[in-house]
């Protein structure tokens, strides 16, 4: 099967916007169509990512984890080595260039884990945009280091204190801002969700991950992986690595959602897995949402802010419906154990989001043959989660340090 960038993927997608955004979406769609047909745009895009972000990111062989699980060979696509610490920078560089072409002066964005927000603040600084980032209050608290860096990079961070106080609310608020400032502002949406053309645009920009991975697999391993595993918040890192392999039916693709406190509880962020999501229309697009029977969105939960969301990319919903992608869900606890093991065995500190993909790989690897290969998309690094890890590991020394630090008087030495 071949994926076409369009407004609908089967019955999913579309564009359900307030009329006031009609003009900006027409402009954005036209600009997207133009750059998609312009090979020079892609070359410029790749060049910036090479020189500013360090792409292509390597594939690391996880030899110790492979030996530990005694099954399939585990490989890791190192999106954590990108500038700003995750795959989010790809989409941000791409849309930043688009915003320049459209003559915009200001970038706004939602963020959950803060990785997208940091990437947008970074590119705003580099390309000379003013910048406002919307973040739910709960997320701002649990990803405080990223809030700090966004502000230092020159962005204004607005915490949302209403509703779920997570990613969904940040998206609503960013849309409200755009409705107020449609002319000079570009809303740089961070994942493959929202009204057309965002799902297509973000998936297209992130496809650089899979393009690299395919080249690297053929060059270094002379074959494609048996399975590719990635975590799913909105769907940008998973679609980023999956797309290039959709036509290769022999490659299994596994999208991993957050099971939160457990598949059988109400505290999770599952939409694809176990029929937890139903088709609905919200935040400008039609997809599977975690909602009640009247169409009111429900409360989601995940230890990973970037996975804690009610909707999912319409492209993923479509590929799951067509059975081209399998889905799975990993609990908070399983993610934490996987993160710990990856630190100890491979010297890699994963983001809590990415730890969900690792945990799924650890479940599957022992059941597979030694000749099989699992490629895990390690979407981001765990620096941002230092306070979360400190709490989750009940690290006494760290907690004492935090208490002392808080008690000390703060004065600048410069």
């Amino acid at each position: 099967m071949k994926l076409k960038y369009d407004s609908y993927y089967g019955s999913f997608g579309g564009r359900f916007n307030p009329e006031i955004l009609h003009g900006v979406f027409t402009e954005l769609t036209e600009t997207f169509e133009k750059v998609k047909a312009d090979n020079n745009f892609w070359l410029e895009y790749e060049k910036i990512l090479k020189n500013y972000s360090g792409r292509p990111t390597p594939i690391t062989e996880a030899t110790n984890l492979t030996a530990h699980f005694k099954g399939a060979k585990i490989l890791i696509k190192r999106e954590d080595l990108n500038h700003t610490g995750s795959h989010k920078i790809d989409n941000v560089v791409g849309q930043g260039l688009l915003a320049q072409r459209m003559g915009k002066k200001r970038l706004i964005a939602e963020t959950g884990a803060g990785q997208h927000g940091v990437a947008v603040a970074t590119i705003a600084a580099k390309l000379g945009f003013s910048c406002t980032i919307y973040m739910g209050e709960i997320d701002a608290k649990r990803q405080r280091p990223n809030v700090f860096w966004m502000e230092k990079l020159g962005a204004e961070v607005i915490e949302i204190k209403s509703g779920s106080r997570t990613l969904k609310e940040a998206i609503n608020e960013a849309f409200r801002d755009w409705v107020n400032n449609p002319k000079d502002t570009h809303y740089l949406l961070g994942t493959a969700c929202g009204p057309h053309p965002f799902p297509s645009l973000v998936a297209w920009l992130q496809s650089i991950i899979g393009k690299e991975a395919k080249r690297q697999m053929i060059k270094d391993y002379q074959k494609l992986p048996t399975k590719i595993i990635a975590s799913v918040g909105g769907g940008s890192n998973s679609l980023g690595i999956f797309q290039e392999f959709i036509e290769h039916k022999e490659v299994g693709l596994v999208a991993v959602e957050a099971a939160g406190l457990g598949v059988d509880t109400d505290n999770h962020s599952m939409r694809l897995t176990a029929n937890k999501g139903t088709v609905g229309i919200a935040q400008g697009y039609k997809t599977l949402f975690f909602q009640d029977e009247e169409g009111q969105m429900r409360k989601t939960h995940s230890i990973a802010a970037g996975l804690d969301y009610i909707g999912v990319s319409p492209i993923l919903a479509y590929l799951v419906e067509k059975k081209r992608i399998d889905c799975a869900a990993i609990s908070d606890k399983e993610a934490l154990i996987a993160a710990k093991l990856t630190m100890r065995k491979e010297g890699i500190i994963p983001a809590l989001e990415s730890a969900h993909a690792l945990a799924q790989a650890f479940k599957e690897a022992p059941k597979m043959d030694k000749k099989d290969i699992i490629l895990v998309n390690l979407s981001g690094r765990g620096d941002k989660d230092i306070f979360n890890f400190g709490d989750l590991f009940f690290d006494k020394k760290w907690q004492t340090f935090i208490k002392q630090k808080a008690a000390n008087q703060i004065e600048s030495k410069i």
């Binding site: 009329e19 006031i20 009609h22 003009g23 900006v24 919200a282 935040q283 029977e293 009111q296």
Partner: protein, 262 residues
Amino acid sequence: MINSDFLSSYIKKERQAKPILIMAHLVLGYPDFKTNHEQVDVMVKAGADIIEMQIPFSEPIADGPVIAKANQLSLARGTKIQDCLDFAQKVTTRHPKKAFIFMSYVNILFMRGIANIISQSEKAGIKGWIVPDLPPEEADVYLAECAKHKISPIFIYAPTHSLARLKTLANYSKGMIYAVARKGITGGKTNFNQELIERLTIYRKIAKKPLAVGFGISQAEDVDFLIGKADIVVIGSKLIEVLDEGGLTALDLFLRKIRGNH
């Protein structure tokens, strides 16, 4: 078949006696249905001509803080779509001379079933629907059901629209065109100035149907300004603020002040 729908005829008839009509907005289930009943009675007695009733949704993306919060609090109290339909049935029966319309977001209609909710709306005495996140391009089923059930689908004009877009929307909109006085969400500040006058003149020429103007109308002077330039003035956030601050007495006073002047 321009102007053959109930709302257009109703507005035309009412406009013969009044320089401008008042469309008053409320969020159903906020603060509660008992107050909603009294609210509607006050609105009608104080001279509102059309009542716009919003069915709450958890993601009211086009609404500002006041209305968004009312949506949230209504849902927290457990408001269901059926409660809203039942409420509509009662108030339309009690006030048969007024026009009532529904407003909500597309997911509410979609999850209930578009055919179901439109036919139920008709039975409940509703004459029009506004769905701010359902553009005509995505609205085939909705438009067909509205036509079948004599409900006017009302579309929205925004300041950023091209002439081509204004024409397209005029073709689909029945009963009235809802013009947004300024860029932005509900509840912000609007400049009532020459730019707005020019825009409304263009809208009138293109729309060829009653023109309602909303967003940011907060005092009698705003309404005065719109006389002769629009057929209907829509008051939303301000009415919730007035009710929150001074209760039904304040709401009555506020609306009478606006109506009394004219």
